[in-house]
């Protein structure tokens, strides 16, 4: 009997260590295109700042990762339905989202930028100058929250699902100014003739974190440890320099 117990506990111990040595399988979701964070290059390969960072993180965690494409509207529902395990798709950490998902420590924070036509000359922080203006934001972003909280009643807020629709209305003069994630504005508005940056970029919120299911606390610990390591050992800076001319590190 004693032998049996020893044998059983040995087997159990082997199982346990065996399971730990096994690579963790993780599916990571991105919403493409969202340049320069995640997009497909000319060969159709998934690439971008967050994709590279995710790959480095997986290596650090010794995890076997699979990248999944998921439209933004279904991100959190898809995570909760176990279609994938992590979201690394520029999801800003907010209190409302934190009620549904578990966030890692932030891994980047880009400011919100004000962009408008060359003729726009009002001070975006001056509420009396902004009175009656029409401001475009992407629905559900931290820029949306900021404008809704700080400028409701002063400006008319128009909410768009995609940045493309919003820029189209800015060009069509339905909007006086847009408040959009800085790199997105840089790539969509500033590339067009007759548009400029019209105010100081505003750092909003805590930044962007990896989103996980609430019960996956062990995964979150590993993710945080891996991200911290990457930020310290220079890997993060190298990836950042590849995509940005400015600092997005937090």
């Amino acid at each position: 009997m004693k032998k049996l117990i020893i044998a059983a506990s040995c087997a159990l111990a082997m199982f346990a260590t065996g399971a730990q040595a096994d690579e963790r399988n993780l599916r990571i979701a991105f919403d493409v295109p969202y340049e320069p964070f995640e997009y497909k290059d000319e060969n159709g390969e998934l690439t971008g700042f967050e994709v590279d960072l995710a790959a480095a993180m997986c290596e650090e965690m010794k995890a076997d990762c699979e990248f999944v494409i998921q439209a933004w509207d279904g991100m959190i529902p898809g995570l909760l339905a176990r279609k994938f395990d992590l979201i690394m798709s520029s999801m800003s950490i907010t209190a409302e989202r934190a009620e549904r998902v578990l966030f890692s420590e932030p891994y980047y924070n880009t400011p919100g930028g004000w962009f408008g036509p060359d003729s726009f000359n009002a001070d975006v922080t001056d509420m009396s100058a902004m009175k009656g203006k029409t401001v475009g934001v992407q629905r559900g972003t931290t820029m949306d929250t900021f404008v809704t909280e700080e400028m409701s009643g002063v400006v008319t807020i128009k909410r768009y699902t995609t940045a493309d629709d919003m820029v189209l209305d800015l060009e069509g003069q339905r909007l006086d100014v847009v408040f959009v994630d800085y790199p997105v504005g840089e790539q969509t508005v500033l590339t067009k003739e007759g548009f400029k940056e019209v105010g100081e970029p505003v750092k909003l919120g805590e930044g962007v974190g990896v989103a996980m299911r609430k019960r996956d606390k062990d995964v979150a610990e590993e993710v945080n440890a891996a991200l911290r390591k990457l930020k310290e050992n220079g890997t993060y800076d190298a990836i950042m320099k590849k995509y940005f001319a400015y600092d997005v590190k937090v």
Partner: protein, 241 residues
């Protein structure tokens, strides 16, 4: 459910606060305005167009046929995109007085919805007109009525009775189609639900509530049309009921 349970649930949820209820209410007002206006204008244009569509001369009925074919043959969403985003791309439009109208999303959406419902309503009324029994028209001719009088006294009243059931479907479809107004930044019922969903990440609460709002509106429409049908079609009821 005991009331204190409901109170506790209402206290800890984000969806049914005074602020979000007001957003839903504003959205409901916008939806009702948009649908009501487009139906009224669409119906007003559909009656003469339907009559033109029944005229034998192809130079008169042809253009109406082309119009209804185009607007019934393409999705309303595409029509809305063309009218909303397309018009803004016309060079120089921003300097004309038209821009005052097309700048706001409400009027392009109203125009798209009106053109769409008018096309469907035209075909509904046309179908009712051409199914007028020959005997009725012959009898009217025998009385010496001219075309105009026949239309006014005989054809249109009986066509209206035949069209009302099909038209009630069109009205309900239009209410449901109006949900796409939210893609051009109009905060209608669906727009309010999308804003609230994106703020609280609670798709079920936000969209089930808005579905219930649409159902209430639909029930009101169904009830109103049943009353109207009972009134218009009372000659069809069995004697004594």
């Amino acid at each position: 459910m005991p009331p204190d349970f409901i109170a506790a649930w209402l206290n800890k949820n984000d969806i049914f606060t005074a602020m979000t209820i007001m957003e839903y209410w504003d959205g409901m007002v916008t939806t009702v305005q948009l649908v009501f206006l487009c139906l009224i204008i669409g119906l007003a244009f559909a009656v003469p167009l339907a009559i033109l569509r029944t005229v034998k001369n192809p130079f008169v009925s042809g253009p109406v046929w082309l119009y209804t074919y185009l607007f019934r043959g393409t999705p309303l969403l595409i029509q809305l995109y063309i009218i909303y985003y397309g018009v803004a791309q016309i060079p120089g439009i921003q300097e004309t007085f038209w821009w005052e109208i097309f700048r706001e999303p409400f009027y392009p959406a109203l125009l798209a919805f009106t053109l769409n419902t008018c096309a469907y309503t035209t075909e509904i009324i046309r179908g009712a007109i051409i199914s007028t029994p020959h005997g009725e028209i012959e009898a009217a001719k025998a009385y010496g009525m001219n075309w105009f009088m026949r239309m006014r006294r005989i054809v249109l009243p009986s066509a209206a009775r035949r069209a009302v059931q099909a038209y009630s479907n069109e009205v309900i479809f239009m209410l449901h189609s109006s949900a796409i107004a939210s893609v051009v930044t109009i905060v209608d019922l669906t727009g309010a639900a999308r804003n609230i969903y994106s703020r609280f990440y609670a798709p079920f609460d936000a969209f089930i509530f808005v579905a219930l709002c649409y159902m209430v509106l639909t029930f009101i429409l169904v009830f109103a049309f049943r009353k109207l049908e009972n009134h218009l079609l009372r000659h069809q009821r069995p004697v004594g009921s």
